[in-house]
Symmetry: C2
């Protein structure tokens, strides 16, 4: 499943700072300044969940709970 993040929702979640830094580095590597949405590789899920501080199921639950994942596992 494609991981799709809602960038506006992400900005509003203070504790998501480590995720925002990761997202910012991908935005800059691409030059993708659409500002609304960012699709990431399935392979990035592990890194994202580690940055949230848990394993895959904890990380996905947290991202869902924050309302920042438009699409994902």
């Amino acid at each position: 499943r494609k991981i799709v993040l809602d960038l506006a929702a992400l900005e509003a979640i203070d504790p998501s700072a480590p995720i925002r830094r990761f997202v910012r580095s991908i935005i800059e590597a691409r030059g993708d300044f659409n500002g609304r949405i960012l699709s990431l590789r399935h392979d990035d899920l592990k890194a994202l969940c580690t940055l949230v501080g848990g394993d895959i199921s904890t990380g996905v639950a947290q991202l869902r709970g924050w309302g920042v994942m438009i699409d994902g596992p």
Copy 2:
């Protein structure tokens, strides 16, 4: 270096059929029907060169010779 292919130029090169099939599979996986240009991952270079029938330097030389690589190694 990003690998960027010129899709119009590629269509005109008969012996590039294996490359065109690889490119078509990525276009369909993405739903990317812009039809002019396709950027591929640096990691795809090995697969591309194998499909051209050689190692990396032979494959890159062939893609350059055909005029289908807008940007690459």
